[in-house]
Amino acid sequence: MPDSLALDPRDRGGLQQPMLIARDLRKHFPVKGSGNKSVQAVDGVSFTVDKGETLGIVGESGCGKSTLARLLLHLVMPDSGELIFDGDAVGVPDGIAVHELRRQVQMVFQDSYSSLNPRMPIRDSVAFGPFVQGKKKDEARHIARDMLRRVGLDPSLFGPRYPHELSGGQKQRVNIARALATAPRMVILDEPVSALDKSIEAQVLNLLRALKRQFNLTYIFISHDLNVVQYLSDRVLVMYLGRVVEIGPIEAIFERPLHPYTRALLASRPSMDPARRIEEPPISGDPPNPIDPPSGCRFHTRCPFAETVCETTDPALGTWQGLQSHVAACHMRDPLSGHSLSGHA
């Protein structure tokens, strides 16, 4: 549970209203020259993010986690599905407009260099957001100085510099300052520390934690590194080939993972202890191509427990509500599925 929630004047739906609800989001990218094949990047993804929490999203490359992040801000338009931000549907009449959503939800990307304008000193990059959202130039500059200070960069020293004059860690700090300059309520962090060295990664993680408290933020934290997700998140959503396979509170996922894929992911983490090395690979093979994904349960081609039902029928994720629920899309969890291990696993 989020520790403290001061009442935010921008709060519309009340504390019980989730910050963000995503319902059945779908995005297929057509593949040119292949007839009507498509990459099923995100295929029917639903989840909620509560106010003040950090939702971690994990999965291997190509599982659709970055596409999902972009769908949430309409940086990529979903084919279908619904987004509700603090009780207001996004991009529909009577709802919240996309530009207003982007004022309240900001994003930090993995590649810290390509997400900054190389021709702009960083103080202007940070001031740009508030400026286009109607702040006066002086005000925007003032906000930029303040934000740079809060992310640990001296504004008079770093403000006039250009992105290429900064190290990777410093650039990522600038990106965080840029995201926070518009005073968002929620920040989507798409692999924000993956490109950083370990000693710098720790600094940025500490910074993200401190800022979340200071600004009363809600985070969506996307990463392939389960250790980092475990450290930072309250709940975790596990994706595989465009679908949610498991979602639940952090302790539950790490201590009692339900889905065989989640278990394999957890078991694939290096031990950090040479006396307890991994002797057998938890699963074999690579994630399949998201063009033409496997039928039924998409994990059945790599799953040690796969049976006929897994090839033919899509497992449902089950129903879930609130913070406490922990569900997985696996036939072994469903007593009526016909899987021989159903109810045992």
């Binding site: 710098i200 720790a202 250790n227 394999a264 031990s271 950090m272 202890d273 991994i278 690979p281």
Partner: protein, 351 residues
């Protein structure tokens, strides 16, 4: 069998006597690097990428060079095969592989060395493999270059190798182009190519970094098995402590172009001697309590064009003393087989 490496920074030859048993136990090391210095010279600046690195690797031993980006770990690895751009690079020191002086080799001898006695695998198989030749053709070419056999024999050997690295339906994969393979299979194909001429020393430059977690562990286990079965020596460069703990016998931790600590992997990871190693371990996220900040190392690594005087880590070090800034610390040996180049480490000095 003894699996021990000595790794020392800026040491006189006598440093090896710091662990006296060594000289008796170990026959000729497979690879021996002594006081290696690598500088990249351009008109604007000189980058001091590697500064006085010494280590040795025994046959059948896995040495992990651990370090962050810019620490000189990849440059050290490439110097072992002289894969650095010759015109801009100044290499000093000595590099011997199987008794041969690599730095004195003619380009003809180098071509025999590369892929023969010493082979290398890279981080990005997609850029290391040639996109316009099939996997079978590329492996076959290497085999024919080094053994002079005919195409058919080379193809048979390629098939054997793909099976060795456990590529499923190997026969079919021989005729696949690199882009037709998944990331994990591509990396296996590159390993197969590296092993094609039975190298005695395998150099691995972050070969699992670009792979997904579930695939990374498969490739690590494969490399470990192959290394053991074929009795190769291996130098494995990585930034990931977890990967090192899975594969290394000994580790050498690099910072700003110097080896700051070395020793058996279990001891270095469980009781690091150098403050940098300790800091790296503490700042790597692995199950720390969620309600506390991670013990991050403050600051960032130095500019390799303008290295600070004395210990390069001193500006970030919580345990620094005034003498740290005066000279590069001599290696000390806290216990046999271990080295740390740090003034605050208790231990036998080199001289």
């Amino acid at each position: 069998m003894s699996r021990r490496a000595t790794c020392v920074t800026r040491s006189p030859a006598t440093a090896y006597l710091g662990t006296p048993k060594m000289a008796l136990e170990d026959a000729a090391p497979l690879a021996e690097v002594h006081d290696l210095n690598v500088r990249f010279v351009t008109r604007e600046a000189t980058v001091h990428a590697v500064n006085g690195v010494s280590f040795s690797v025994q046959p059948g031993e896995v040495l992990c060079i651990l370090g962050e980006s810019g620490s000189g770990k990849t440059v050290t690895l490439r110097a072992l095969m002289r894969l650095l751009p010759p015109r801009r690079t100044r290499i000093e020191g000595s590099v011997r592989v199987d008794g041969q002086d690599v730095l004195a080799m003619s380009s003809r001898d180098l071509r025999d060395l590369r892929g023969g006695l010493v082979a290398m695998i890279f981080q990005e198989p997609m850029t290391a493999l040639d996109p316009v030749y099939t996997v079978g053709q590329q492996i076959g070419e290497t085999v024919r270059r080094h053994t002079g056999c005919d195409r058919r024999t080379a193809r048979a050997r390629a098939l054997e190798l793909l099976e060795l690295v456990r590529i499923p339906s190997a026969e079919r994969r021989l005729d696949a182009y690199p882009h037709e393979l998944s990331g994990g299979l591509r990396q296996r194909a590159m390993i197969a190519m590296a092993l094609s001429c039975d190298p005695r020393l395998l150099l691995a430059d972050e070969p699992t970094t670009a792979l997904d977690a579930t695939v990374q562990v498969q490739v690590l286990i494969l490399l470990r098995r192959l290394q053991r079965e074929l009795g190769m020596g291996m130098i494995f460069v990585t930034h990931d402590l977890g990967v090192a703990s899975e594969i290394a016998d000994t580790v050498a931790v690099m910072y700003a172009g110097r080896i700051v600590e070395s020793g058996p992997v279990a001891q270095v990871l469980s009781a690091p001697a150098h403050p940098y190693t300790a800091g790296l371990l503490a700042s790597t996220v692995h199950g720390q309590p969620r309600e506390r900040d991670i013990d991050a190392i403050p600051g960032s690594p130095p500019d390799m064009r303008r290295l600070p005087r004395g210990c390069s880590f001193a500006p970030r070090c919580a345990r620094r003393i005034a003498q740290c800034r005066l000279a590069v610390p001599e290696p000390r040996f806290p216990e046999p087989g271990r080295m740390a180049a740090c003034l605050v480490v208790a231990g036998v000095r080199a001289s």
